[in-house]
C-alpha cells in the first residue's frame, strides 16, 4: 500500500465496506438482476454527457449513506441533458452531515407499476441469512411488519425456493412476473454470498410498466472481516462508518492493517463540543464493551467524545503509541481520557509504554486520565506517571478498583482546573537522532536510534528490558540477533527508550512512522 498526503489518497478513490448505490447495482447486474441504465457523475458536465447518452428523461440521485434522500432534496428528475447538468450542480452542493456530496447517479427514468421491498440480513437467532420480502414494498414499510414474508436462506444453498414461490404465488402481482421476480429475489442471496455481504437492501424492487423486473435502489454492506478475500471490490478501508472516512480514519486504518498485534479501531464522532458540554475529549478505550461503558461514563459527567478508539487484544506498544498520536492530531481537545473494562487480561505495561512515549514526544499540555486496571496495573501506572512527571499537564493512571464514575469525576475536575485547549503539534525527538554520533537500526515501520557515546550507560537498562537483542561487550551497539528478528522487537525497544529516559539516560529513541499524519496534524513544535 502506497501512502501519500490525504488529498492524494482521496483522489485515488477510497472505498469502504458499505457500498454506494451505484457500486451495489453493478454487483447486482453481474449476477443477472436488471438495473436501470446509467452511470455515476462527479460534475455537471459529466452528468450532461451521461444523460445525452441515455437519451431520454433521467433521474439523478446523490450517492450518500443516508436514509430518505428524497426528503433532503437528494433526488431530482431531468427531461434534457441541460436540465441534468443544472440538477447535478444543485445536488453536488448538498452536504450530508459534515460531508459534501461527491457523486450523483444518473439513470434512465423508469415507469414503475409495482414496488416491492427485499432485504437480506443475518438472523442472529437462526445463525443464517434470511430474506425479508414485502410484496407491497416501498415507503412506510416499517409500519406494515405484518405484510412482510420472512424467507429462510441456507448458507450454501441459498433461499428456500418453496417459501419464496409460496410468498410470490399468493400475491396479487401479475402471473407473468412471478418467475422473474422469484429469480431476482433468489439472485440477491447469490450476490450476498459471493461478496460476503452483511446486508443487502433493495427498496424498491420494481415491476415496470412494460413488465420488466428491476432493482431501482440498492444498499449493500460487505462484512469487514471478509474484505481481505475480495480484492475485486476495491475496498481499501474495511470499516463500516456512517460517513466517508476522514483523513485520520484512513491513517488509523492503515496503521491497523500494517500491525496485526492486537486491534486498533478509530472513528471520529464530533469536531465540536455539544451545547452545554464541558469540552471535547480525546477518547482512548480498550475492548469493545469496556470502551462503550467508559464512553457512557465520560458522557454522563458532561463531556463530548471527539473520537471512539479501541486498542485491545494485547496490542503492541507501537500500536498504542500510534493510536495516541492519531487521537492527539484532533484539534480543540480539553483532555485525554483512557479506559477499558478496568480488569484487562492483557499486560497493561505495554500500553503504558506506548502512551508515555506519545505524551513525552508531544509534551502533552492537557490533562490525561488513564484507567490501566488489569494485569500488571501497578507497573503500568508507575511507568506512565513517572515517565510523564516533567510534562506540563497532569497525567494520572488508575487501577481496576477505581470505578469509571469516580475517575470520570476526577477527569472533570482536572480539565476545569487546567482550562487548556489542545492543538496538534509535531513530535519532539532527542538531539542525537539523525546525527553521525548515533547508531541506527531498521525496525518494522521505523528506526531505532542509539546515542553511541552513551551506549555503555544505557546498556544495563537495555539488557534488562530487551534482553538478548544487543551484544553485551562492545563499545558501540551491535545486534546479537539477525536483523529480521530485531525488526519485530519494536515494543521491547520502546520499553528501553522510556526506561532509559526514566533513569536519566535519554540515549535510545524509537522513531515510528505514521504515514500521512504530518500532513493532517501539521503544526510546529
Amino acid at each position: 500500500m502506497m501512502f501519500g498526503p490525504p488529498a492524494a489518497m482521496a483522489a485515488m478513490g477510497t472505498s469502504v465496506a458499505r457500498l454506494h448505490e451505484y457500486q451495489g447495482k453493478a454487483l447486482l447486474k453481474e449476477h443477472g438482476i436488471a438495473v436501470p441504465k446509467g452511470s455515476v457523475a462527479s460534475s455537471p458536465a459529466e452528468a450532461e454527457r451521461i444523460a445525452r447518452e441515455l437519451g431520454g428523461p433521467v433521474v439523478l440521485k446523490i450517492q450518500a449513506w443516508t436514509t430518505g434522500r428524497a426528503a433532503i432534496g437528494g433526488v431530482k428528475f431531468a427531461d434534457t441533458p441541460e436540465e441534468a447538468a443544472i440538477a447535478t450542480k444543485e445536488l453536488l452542493d448538498i452536504t450530508v452531515g459534515n460531508f459534501p456530496v461527491e457523486q450523483v447517479l444518473v439513470e434512465e427514468k423508469i415507469a414503475i407499476k409495482h414496488e416491492l421491498f427485499v432485504s437480506l440480513t443475518v438472523d442472529d437467532a437462526a445463525r443464517a441469512p434470511m430474506i425479508l420480502l414485502a410484496l407491497e414494498g416501498g415507503t412506510g414499510i416499517e409500519d406494515r411488519a405484518g405484510d412482510v414474508a420472512k424467507l429462510p436462506v441456507h448458507v450454501r444453498d441459498g433461499v428456500d425456493r418453496d417459501s419464496l414461490d409460496h410468498a410470490i404465488g399468493n400475491s396479487s402481482l401479475p402471473k407473468a412476473q412471478h418467475a422473474p421476480l422469484a429469480e431476482a429475489v433468489a439472485s440477491i442471496a447469490t450476490v450476498a454470498k459471493s461478496v460476503e455481504a452483511r446486508s443487502v437492501e433493495i427498496n424498491p424492487l420494481v415491476v415496470t410498466d412494460d413488465g420488466r423486473v428491476m432493482a431501482a435502489d440498492c444498499r449493500m454492506t460487505v462484512d469487514d472481516y471478509a474484505v481481505f478475500r475480495h480484492p475485486e471490490l476495491g475496498i481499501d478501508i474495511a470499516r463500516e462508518l456512517d460517513h466517508p472516512p476522514t483523513a485520520l480514519e484512513r491513517i488509523a486504518y492503515h496503521v491497523e492493517e500494517a500491525d496485526h498485534r492486537g486491534t486498533f479501531y478509530f472513528a471520529q464522532l464530533n469536531t465540536k463540543p455539544d451545547a452545554g458540554s464541558k469540552g471535547l475529549v480525546g477518547f482512548h478505550g480498550a475492548g469493545g464493551g469496556g470502551s462503550m461503558m467508559s464512553m457512557d461514563a465520560i458522557t454522563n459527567v458532561g463531556f463530548t467524545i471527539a473520537n471512539f478508539t479501541d486498542t485491545s487484544g494485547n496490542p503492541s506498544a507501537a500500536k498504542v503509541y500510534r493510536a495516541a498520536r492519531i487521537i492527539l492530531s484532533q484539534p480543540d481537545l480539553c483532555g485525554y481520557f483512557g479506559s477499558g473494562s478496568g480488569v484487562a487480561s492483557q499486560e497493561q505495561f505495554w500500553s503504558a509504554y506506548g502512551l508515555a512515549k506519545a505524551f513525552w514526544e508531544l509534551e502533552l499540555s492537557i490533562p490525561a486520565v488513564i484507567r490501566l486496571g488489569g494485569n500488571s496495573e501497578d507497573r503500568a501506572i508507575d511507568i506512565l506517571q513517572d515517565a510523564c512527571t516533567d510534562l506540563p499537564a497532569a497525567i494520572e493512571g488508575y487501577r481496576k478498583d477505581d470505578t469509571p464514575g469516580v475517575i470520570g469525576q476526577r477527569f472533570a475536575s482536572l480539565v476545569i482546573a487546567a482550562s487548556a485547549t489542545w492543538q496538534p503539534r509535531s513530535p519532539r525527538k532527542p538531539s542525537f537522532v539523525g546525527t553521525s554520533g548515533a547508531t541506527s537500526f531498521a525496525i518494522t515501520g521505523g528506526t531505532v536510534w542509539i546515542d553511541t557515546p552513551r551506549w555503555n550507560d544505557a546498556l544495563p537498562t537495555v539488557q534488562e528490558f530487551a534482553p538478548g537483542l544487543f551484544d553485551a561487550d562492545t563499545s558501540a551497539p551491535t545486534l546479537a540477533i539477525d536483523a529480521e528478528a530485531f525488526a519485530g522487537k519494536d515494543s521491547e525497544l520502546i520499553a528501553c527508550e522510556v526506561e532509559c529516559r526514566r533513569r536519566g539516560c535519554d540515549a535510545v529513541f524509537v522513531e515510528l512512522d505514521i504515514p500521512g499524519l504530518t500532513e493532517v496534524a501539521g503544526g510546529a513544535h
Partner: protein, 304 residues
C-alpha cells in the same frame, strides 16, 4: 456444579504450538483445566508444556480416548477449516477464540454444527471460566490473575464483551458475591451459544441462583432472553446492564431491515423488554453488584 467447563472436561487446543496457543495453554493448565491434547498439522510428536501434540483432531481423539471441548486458537482465516475438522472428528463443543472470523464462515460452522449435533461458543470470545475449577480460552490472561480475581459462588455471569466479563465478575467478587461460571458469548453478530442458550444452562445448574448479564446494543439476544423469562423457562433472578446508551444510533439501526424486526436492537428496547420480563436492569455499570446482592437475597442464598 458449574456450566460448560469444570476440571473433569477433557480439552484439546487447536493451534497449541502458535504464540497464542502456547500462552493460553499455560493459563488453562495453570488454572486446573484438564488439557489432554494439542493439534497442529505436521507437529505430531512434539509437546507443549507437557501436552502431546497431534496432526489432527481425529488423531487426538483416537489417542486420548475422547475430547469434550476443542479450543480453537488459529488465525481467523483458518478458523472455518479448524472448526469443521473438530466437528468432523466428533467433538461436541468448540470454543472459537479468534476475532475477525468472516461472518459467512461463522454461518457455515453453525450449519455444520447443527447437522452434527455439536455446539460452539464464539467466535471472538475470551472464553469460559468456572472459578476455582477450570477455564477455557484466555479469560484472566494469566493463571495467577484468574485465581486472584474470580471467586466461586452462586451467580452466573453472561457477557457480550470480553473485558467486561472479567470486569463484571471481578466487581461482583469485590462486593462479596461469588460466581458459578463466567461465559463470554463473543462479540460477533453470528454466535454459537447466545445469551438465552447460556441462561437456560444456568437455569438447570443447581449451584447457580441468579444470573448477571452484561448486554450491549444491537442484535436480539437480550430480547430473546426476556421472552424466555416471560415464558417461564428462565425463572432465576436476572440482573442486567446494557452498554451503549451513549453510542450514536446510526443508520445501522434506522434502515428498514432493522426496523421491521420490530424495533429490536436499541438500548431502550432491550432495557424495556428485560424490565417487563421481571429483570432488574441497572443504569450504571457500578450498580450491578448491589442489584445482584438484592437478587440473591430474594432467593435466600448466601453470596459466597
Amino acid at each position: 456444579m458449574a456450566i460448560i467447563i469444570d476440571e473433569t472436561k477433557r480439552v484439546c487446543i487447536q493451534g497449541i504450538t502458535g504464540r497464542e496457543g502456547r500462552a493460553r495453554a499455560a493459563l488453562m493448565l495453570g488454572y486446573g483445566t484438564n488439557v489432554v491434547a494439542g493439534v497442529t498439522p505436521k507437529k505430531a510428536g512434539e509437546e507443549v508444556l507437557g501436552v502431546p501434540v497431534f496432526d489432527s483432531v481425529k488423531d487426538a481423539v483416537t489417542a486420548t480416548g475422547g475430547i469434550d471441548i476443542s479450543v480453537i486458537l488459529v488465525p481467523a482465516k483458518f478458523v472455518k477449516s479448524a472448526a469443521l475438522e473438530a466437528i468432523g472428528a466428533g467433538v461436541k463443543l468448540l470454543l472459537i477464540v479468534p476475532d475477525r472470523v468472516p461472518m459467512w464462515d461463522a454461518m457455515e460452522i453453525a450449519d455444520a454444527a447443527k447437522t452434527a449435533g455439536a455446539q460452539f461458543i464464539g467466535p471472538n470470545t475470551l472464553g469460559v471460566l468456572s472459578p476455582g475449577r477450570a477455564v477455557i480460552g484466555m479469560m484472566g490472561g494469566k493463571a495467577e490473575s484468574a485465581k486472584a480475581w474470580f471467586k466461586p459462588g452462586p451467580v452466573g455471569v453472561i457477557s457480550r464483551s470480553g473485558g467486561m466479563s472479567s470486569s463484571t465478575a471481578y466487581y461482583l467478587g469485590k462486593a462479596g458475591i461469588g460466581i458459578s461460571t463466567i461465559v463470554h458469548v463473543g462479540g460477533d453478530s453470528v454466535l454459537g451459544m447466545r445469551i438465552p442458550d447460556v441462561a437456560l444452562q444456568f437455569e438447570n445448574d443447581p449451584d447457580t441462583h441468579a444470573i448477571v448479564i452484561f448486554g450491549e446494543i444491537g442484535g436480539s439476544m437480550e430480547e430473546d432472553l426476556a421472552a424466555l423469562m416471560t415464558a417461564g423457562k428462565v425463572t432465576k433472578p436476572v440482573v442486567a446492564y446494557i452498554g451503549g446508551k451513549a453510542a450514536k444510533e446510526g443508520t445501522r439501526f434506522s434502515h428498514a431491515g432493522a426496523i421491521i424486526e420490530g424495533n429490536r436492537g436499541t438500548h431502550i428496547s432491550k432495557t424495556t423488554a428485560l424490565r417487563n420480563a421481571g429483570a432488574i436492569v441497572v443504569d450504571g455499570f457500578g450498580d450491578l453488584p448491589e442489584a445482584a446482592k438484592k437478587a440473591l437475597e430474594s432467593t435466600s442464598v448466601r453470596s459466597m
